[in-house]
């Protein structure tokens, strides 16, 4: 495009408009990132500095040390990692199998089956806490990591997404594989799964984010630090009888959000694209 030294009136209006927009967008951006930045700031300062906004106050890592020693956050980390990994593994296995069935097979009751799956889109296991607790108690799984993850490994969202993806793959590839003598599972394994990889990755990121941050069901089903994940650990840490130290709480919060946040900062594009891809219907 040419750059004119004298701007036309319309262009000047557009430029001013664009400038205002940029300013507006930036203000909103700062407003949006503000709270998190403040929490970060509070976590590295002493108790008094946090509430008095002293910008020149000395930095300290003491809060993190206190938090780390004050509650078994290392155990919480381990539990959370095991949990999200287990859930994702389960979701992928069950989801791929079920999506394959819905996408490529005609069978009696497929509509009813699909409707049943869709029910879970609206009515998640999360809201059925009372009865699901009873089920887990009968299975003798209370306060274990599998108990947290089990209700989620049949993911309606995942099945829906993967079905969509599988359906969009050209049938010729399937047929070609069949000609080569591939059985049905073989075709799934060799044709569908590799081609659906971007969706699987996207789904993986969404799932990990979601379950890293899940709170209510883990709260209900765990009793001790044996299975307690980070979110419940944070809530338990904050729920003290003798009062909140805001800087300690900020430090604990930072500890809990850090991994996902750092992963997000590094893999921003992938995260955003994953969520986008997951949402495209």
């Amino acid at each position: 495009m040419t750059t004119l030294t004298t701007a036309l009136p319309g262009e000047r209006r557009v430029r001013v408009g664009r400038l205002l927009e940029t300013v507006g967008a930036w203000l909103l951006g700062i407003l949006w990132i503000g709270p998190l930045l403040y929490a970060l700031w509070a976590s590295v300062h002493h108790r008094d500095a946090a509430t008095s906004f002293d910008l020149t106050a000395p930095l300290t890592l003491d809060n993190f040390v206190s938090v780390w020693n004050g509650a078994p956050f290392d155990r919480y980390y381990l539990n959370t990692v095991l949990l999200v990994t287990g859930i994702l593994a389960g979701q992928l296995v069950l989801g791929v199998l079920a999506a394959y069935a819905f996408a490529r097979f005609r069978f009696v009751g497929s509509n009813i089956a699909f409707a049943l799956v869709l029910v879970q889109l609206m009515i998640a296991p999360d809201i059925l806490i009372s009865e699901n607790y009873n089920t887990m108690a009968q299975l003798q799984l209370v306060d274990t990591i599998p108990a947290i993850g089990l209700p989620y490994i049949a993911s309606a969202f995942g099945i829906f997404l993967l079905r969509q993806t599988f359906k969009s793959l050209p049938i010729e590839l399937d047929e070609a594989a069949e000609i080569e003598g591939c059985g049905r599972l073989g075709r799934l394994w060799r044709v569908y799964v590799p081609l659906a990889r971007p969706t699987l990755v996207a789904y993986g990121l969404v799932s990990v984010s979601t379950h890293w941050n899940n709170f209510l069901w883990p709260l209900v089903i765990t009793n001790s630090e044996n299975a307690r994940p980070l979110t419940v650990g944070l809530a338990v840490y904050n729920g003290t009888e003798s009062g909140i130290d805001w800087t300690l709480m900020s430090a604990a919060t930072v500890l809990v959000v850090a991994p996902l946040l750092i992963a997000f900062l590094i893999f921003q594009r992938q995260f955003v694209q994953s969520f986008m891809r997951a949402g495209i219907r």
């Binding site: 095991l82 990591i145 599998p146 990889r197 990755v201 009793n223 009888e241 003798s242 009062g243 909140i244």
Partner: protein, 431 residues
């Protein structure tokens, strides 16, 4: 960005392995094995106190020979929830530290055992524990629990703020009038934003009970799990007074958070606060100013409810495990340990023998503030305890919130509240 392909069989294997590993690692089963017991406990302060509890538990493991896994299960409410839901599904703890007010709820649901089934002679308890604390564990003529972390409400005041306001820092308020005067003067002199803070969330009902006692109401603890003092004229007076403090601006308006009140005190936002003595060590450690602790002021009389948690033995396992749990509780509540726990936390050491230990005597000399809560026991009443305690306490808290936020008038609200409570407790009268 290269991504490792997800192997279906590999994923299944991983998932399977994780299930097994996690299942093995998770403590799903309540009892820690044939010899091992599980104990649930809430902790007032995060951090160092978990270590103290661990040490107490380790000491007693050695002394009694019983292996106990101590599980920190969050706040009092959380611990009660966890203990109950786990117990109902057959995987509960063998012993737990729970609020004294949960007594009837636990009995009603057959979750705990009376101590006379585990010990023929319980007279030792009368020598070891203060009668006020012991009484909180008694129901239906039996003793059900042993005092462990007990408290009363105490009044903390900021001596520096007092001086700045021209008040004598060694003369905290002893009557309601004095409290109002001091608070007024502090605010007028600008020594603090608020003269006084009395928290009204979470344990607002505890604070309210104190005011009712100070107004001369007698039956605040309730009888046999039935509570009927809520619409007593003294109770109405109490709530009206509480509201007037906020209306006058001596206290923040609306509800005041239990958890942020100590922080407000430490930051100098309020010069006086009513809070649990269990906060004492926290305040002592973190205050950058001189502060004092005193008994709550009197209206018609001084007084405070007791509070805190007792050790309960749960109705599970066999005779041996229950006996072991009882022995362990005895060990944890021994005078030396009670003293250790009290010094570390600020809770009141639970009996005379504990106060007579060397450690406790030294501590009391060095830090006389710790004796205030104990001295207040003479004018203390038991904490309000009823059937369906969760619901009843919530109802009281809701009413206090309604009045303090101006949504309801004290007389009307309390009459309605008593009617509500009567309705909740109705099914238990038939027994």
């Amino acid at each position: 960005m290269p991504v490792r392909p997800r192997s279906l069989t590999g994923a299944a294997a991983v998932a399977g392995a994780l299930v097994v590993v996690a299942g093995c690692g998770g403590g799903g089963d309540g009892s820690g094995g044939s010899d091992g017991l599980t104990m649930y406990y809430p902790v007032a302060v995060g951090g160092p106190l978990t270590e103290v509890v661990d040490k107490l538990v380790a000491d007693c493991t050695e002394e009694t020979g019983t292996q106990v896994t101590a599980v920190y299960s969050g706040s009092y409410a959380d611990t009660m929830t966890k203990a109950q839901t786990a117990a109902r599904s057959g995987q509960g703890p063998d012993l737990a530290v729970l609020l004294t007010t949960d007594l009837y709820t636990l009995i009603d649901n057959d979750l705990i055992v009376p101590l006379d089934t585990l010990d023929e002679d319980l007279s030792w308890t009368e020598e070891q524990f203060f009668p006020a604390f012991l009484a909180s564990g008694e129901a239906e003529g039996k003793l059900w629990s042993l005092p462990f972390q007990r408290s009363t409400i105490v009044q903390y005041h900021n001596k520096e703020a007092y001086e700045a306001a021209g008040l004598d820092p060694e003369q905290p308020p002893t009557t309601w009038e004095e409290l109002e005067e001091h608070a007024r003067q502090i605010q007028e002199q600008g020594a603090a934003e608020y003269g006084l803070e009395i928290p009204s969330t979470q344990f607002g009902n505890w604070m309210f009970q104190a005011m009712a006692i100070q107004q001369g109401v007698e039956n605040t603890p309730g009888t046999d799990g039935f509570v009927d003092y809520l619409d007593d004229p003294g109770s109405v007076e109490a709530l009206t007074w509480w509201k007037s403090l906020a209306d006058e601006g001596l206290m923040p308006s609306g509800t005041t958070e239990w958890a942020s009140t100590p922080e407000d005190f430490l930051q100098g936002r309020t010069a006086i606060m009513w809070h649990t003595t269990g906060n004492l060590t926290n305040v002592r450690t973190n205050a950058s100013f001189d502060f004092g602790v005193s008994m709550l002021p009197a209206a018609e009389q001084p007084g405070s409810p007791t509070g805190g948690g007792n050790l309960y033995v749960f109705n599970r396992g066999d005779e041996n495990s229950r006996a072991a749990a009882y022995e362990f509780s005895k060990c944890l509540t021994e005078p030396e340990r009670a003293a250790e726990w009290s010094i570390a936390s600020g809770y009141v050491a639970t009996g005379e023998p504990a106060w007579e230990t060397e450690a406790m005597q030294e501590y009391a000399e060095e830090f006389p503030e710790a004796t205030v809560a104990r001295d207040q026991l003479e004018v203390a009443q038991g904490e309000t305890t009823s059937h369906e305690n969760g619901r009843v306490a919530q109802a009281i808290n809701d009413t206090i919130a309604a009045v303090l936020t101006g949504q309801a008038e004290p007389q009307e609200a309390l009459t309605q509240l008593q009617a509500n409570i009567d309705q909740i407790l109705q099914p238990y009268r038939a027994r």
